[in-house]
Symmetry: C2
């Protein structure tokens, strides 16, 4: 690596002291025509876009019209991409490639764009010759410079001869042309084994562009992984903040630009996707402030709310589903303790478990059904939490939309559920008049362990990022399992103190007509310190618990080597069992499904069991299906 | 390999001379609860099932109840599977594993099943020691034999130490126990590099079970490939008939059993999937008759119909969409030549292109829309074709359901389209009275090149097998491309003489709410020998052709190096261009979308171009979207 680079004069890139990084999104991240994509990017607050060639090619707008449209929307075309299979070719092909490039320079000129991405060749005609690649890229950069254009050279992870960032950099370094730099793509860098630490040593001004994508760890062909499974930062497994800090330490001051190829985002509402994308960048930037860049100003978020538990879960009910849930709660040992002063809203309690039945929620749902319409978490500073949510482009809901008239800060989750933040002083209870009802019979439920929320197919990764960024939750594991009506994915979240847990589930493929409605239920799981005692109490209270197949218990004996007596006790109460590799145990039971899609779980965690019993989910789903068939 | 094996006495397996092979399907192939799966398998005509353990574990039916249910339905439990991680372990684990096995023997006894599948271990505790594996499997077989049970040992392609069929066979051979044999799974064998030819040398009676699955060639982790992307025979890329003939030459006479893990089948109507599965086995068996097995009788199909071309395409129209399509056809140079004697059905013609507009079809579709309701192909022996379709479990439609009263043999394709088979003598025209209309102006369309049919998401692979098996079509390539509203997959089919082509398309992921209706259109493509002459004629006739973006033509220059004059001619008429690696060229143009989801294509193939211009499909889809937005 040399330090002999001249400064980059073409074109001038001002670096105002203390300026903010620009935020950009590639058009490939968004569904629709170019018009749909630009509108969505602008509405979500992006400063610029990467224009993917195909989006221009199929567009009815000329490049000049695209430029004008972008200007109207306050967007800059930060990059035009990709230009493929250029370098390290025989002379005749080089000539053809330069002609091809001149056509693209025309397009950039009309677009008002100044940077063209050239990705490392995958063509059979390319030879493995760094000197030749450098020479030809220098030639290209020379022609580009004459048009006021820069060439950003990028190593594709599956490039024929150049597939790592350091190899691409050696060629750019060797070519030594002011209009030639490299483009770094976090996916291409982090999906490979090559250590990215050396990026910090790239001379200032030679990183022309930075593309960001997260991804889950997958064992698959890297090209397929890249083209189908990228995610926005914070939705996958890569350390994007660490990566961006490296790039910043090399002096980069260009845009943070998202380039995410994702099969779901490709067919989802682009306005939603763009907000999700912006949220990922805002959250990422919040983790960059340690970077030693006095010339830059990193926008910070209010700190995440320190959560201390679930205050309550609210169900939207109607005249038919309300009484059903009242009976169910009574059977579970709850008491109707409070009645709202002015609305048809009931509070039910047991231990630290609180459920609100709200007949006043105007939420679209079929008659006779129930749904989780809201949940409330306790935190010392609800307003800071809501400020953070707003900064993360989450829809902050008008105050006083809660079941109680007391002021509750609230924000809408991606599936429409309202998330309330409440102070731990129970101030929200002020609007409930005590019923004076005697506690009829409790079942030993001590608190809300978790909510299980089946997510709309298009919004699973969006929801995960929402809960991570807005509430500061951490991701627990992700499980995939075969259920009776198709594959399911389940992902757990919790706060650092494990006071709040959430399990988000989604069908791995969007469901079709065949799957019955019980395939997508929601549930609340209550904890107990004595599952057998609770089960016996539920029995006495006449609770309706889910009948579990005898085959399950026969298999349990074979699978875990449990003694017959324990298994007999489990079977008696329909308690399911799971054990983790560390010896932690989960004992849990379920109710049937009520009001179309609601069920309850009662569970006991032992010896640090940290999961959600996903191994038993297919058993539960089949049992719910049997229940439904028996009813009809 | 030794030949010292004793015959297998436990249990007796009769091999009646001239008997038929049994047909079996694994419960994992089908969606739903065990009840759904058994009902579907029986209705489709299977003789037996492989019972996947989880399907039993989650079932409300005890093993004895499953046995009774199967008996009622005429099904045998051919195999219980899988038993995992048994062999080559330390002594204490062996004891536990044997205890575990005894539990499963109990289950098999209750089920009335006699074969347990043991798959090669993936457990870290297993050691790489064939002698130990053989010794322990021998022990297991001994215990099994005492219960009248056989052990079928199978190499998982991702087994820890045993991952190939020949390795599994060496261990079984070494163990040399009459109740121990191998299970061959076509996926595990054909997904690996090991030559399967040696299978023919396995001594008679030692292949205990045969599992069949096809798969597309995919570059991915073999476990993921196996668990998500298997297909029924004839839907993928494997030579299943060749594989089964090998197994038969080793004396195998057990069931042909489908074991297909497929994400789509897991969530589709099991009744449909089971018929698709049965069709795949019937078609496969038709290719087995060369096997030298005088003791077996292979069921044969009537030969595939020799196709000679498209007779006509029928559109279901109504009072609003009918006149629209009449105008469009007139603009394309068609003449209304025939009127049905008794029904509101019109025949339109040009060259060898024939279109029927049928207002009498009672097909569910929205008011004002049009849809391809049927197409007719010519063949010398329509009745043989329909007999073949019936033997392949395709729904044969009542005669005289065609637009004409003349007898037309017909079968329903998976998307509901009627496929008519007509004799080449045009007898079907007898019921149309000539209108005597003069030919107003033709555009040089010479015949129907292909139909483009977007398939329902759940039925894409089913449709491919339907057209391959029922009509004897061959598969052309499969393309995947990024379109404005998500990824698309397109697969071409044709007869050996290239007289009939079909392009089936499907969204790679099931579409959600965002995708507009123009994302799933149907179309008819007419051929011309002179695309520019036809385009000029269409211009004169006032045809409405689809406006293609100027950007497309600018890119065409860069991409293919076409001369400016040619590109100017293409642009003038909205003609798109594609070139294949062999120099074949496609020139084609489109109409807008009419009646909700119908458009027409006009094309010229040059120099043997054999595809469907999929590279241009996103351009067309964006243009259709622009058209729709301009209309609204």
């Amino acid at each position: 690596m040399t330090n002999s680079h001249r400064p980059v004069p073409t074109p001038p890139r001002p670096t105002d002291p203390g300026r903010e990084l620009r935020r950009s999104v590639a058009t490939v991240c968004l569904s629709g025509t170019l018009g749909d994509k630009l509108a969505a990017a602008a509405a979500a607050g992006f400063d610029g876009i990467e224009l993917f060639e195909n989006d221009l090619v199929v567009s009815a707008w000329s490049p000049a019209e695209v430029r004008a449209r972008c200007a109207d929307l306050g967007l800059t075309v930060e990059l035009y991409q990709p230009f493929r299979d250029f370098e390290a070719v025989p002379a005749d092909l080089l000539r053809a490639n330069l002609t091809r490039a001149e056509h693209k320079f025309d397009v950039l000129a009309d677009l008002g764009a100044d940077t063209l991405l050239v990705c490392s060749s995958v063509a059979p005609a390319a030879v493995d010759d760094d000197a030749l690649a450098a020479e030809q890229l220098r030639l290209l950069a020379d022609r580009a410079a004459a048009r006021g254009i820069r060439i950003a050279y990028e190593a594709l992870a599956w490039g024929r001869h150049v597939s790592t960032w350091d190899h691409a950099w050696r060629i750019v370094d060797r070519a030594d042309h002011p209009a030639l730099g490299i483009c770094l793509d976090s996916f291409h860098v982090l999906s490979r084994e090559v250590d990215p630490a050396g990026i910090a040593g790239i001379p200032p001004g030679k990183i022309f562009f930075l593309q960001l994508a997260d991804a889950p760890h997958l064992r698959m062909d890297v090209l397929q992984w890249s083209r189908h499974h990228r995610l926005f930062p914070g939705q996958g497994a890569f350390d994007l903040a660490g990566f961006v800090r490296l790039v910043l330490s090399a002096g980069y001051a260009g845009p943070l630009s998202l380039e995410v190829f994702n099969d779901v985002f490709r067919q989802s509402d682009p306005a939603r996707t763009a907000v999700d994308a912006m949220r990922s960048l805002v959250h990422l930037e919040d983790g960059l402030h340690q970077a030693e860049r006095p010339d830059l100003r990193f926008r910070r978020l209010p700190a995440a709310p320190g959560l201390t538990g679930y205050a309550f879960t609210e169900f939207a009910v109607d005249g038919r589903s309300g009484p059903v849930l009242q009976d169910v709660l009574r059977g579970l040992g709850f008491t109707h303790t409070g009645q709202h002063r002015s609305k048809p809203v009931q509070l039910w309690e047991q231990g630290d478990c609180r459920v609100v039945l709200n007949s006043a929620v105007t939420r679209p749902q079929a008659s006779g059904t129930a749904a989780i319409s809201a949940f409330a978490l306790t935190t010392a500073d609800p307003h800071r939490g809501v400020d953070r949510a707003g900064a993360l482009h989450a829809p902050v809901l008008p105050r006083r939309r809660g079941p109680a008239e007391a002021e509750l800060a609230a924000v809408a989750a991606p599936d429409g559920t309202s998330v309330f933040l409440a102070e731990p002083d129970d101030g929200w209870r002020a609007d409930f008049l005590p019923t004076g009802n005697e506690v009829a019979g409790e079942a030993g439920l001590v608190g809300t362990d978790h909510l299980g929320l089946t997510q709309p197919f298009d919004h699973f990764d969006e929801a995960g990022l929402f809960y991570r960024s807005v509430l500061g939750l951490r991701r627990l594991g992700t499980e995939e399992y075969a259920a009776p009506f198709g594959l399911m994915r389940s992902r757990g979240f919790t706060d650092p103190d494990r006071t709040v847990r959430l399990a988000l589930t989604v069908a791995v493929l969007r469901r079709g007509d065949w799957a019955p409605s019980v395939a997508d239920p929601q549930h609340v799981a209550f904890g107990t310190d004595d599952i057998f005692g609770t089960a016996a109490a539920l029995d006495r209270l006449g609770a309706d618990t889910l009948k579990i197949s005898d085959n399950y218990y026969a298999d349990l004996v074979a699978r875990f080597g449990l003694d017959e007596e324990t298994v007999a006790r489990l079977r008696r109460y329909g308690i399911l069992y799971d054990r983790d590799p560390g010896g932690g145990e989960l004992l849990h039971l379920y109710t049937p499904v009520y009001g179309g899609r609601i069920f309850f779980e009662v569970l006991q965690r032992r010896a640090g069991y940290d999961g959600f019993g996903d191994a038993n989910a297919p058993v539960r789903m089949a049992a719910h299906r049997h229940q439904r068939l028996a009813e009809t």
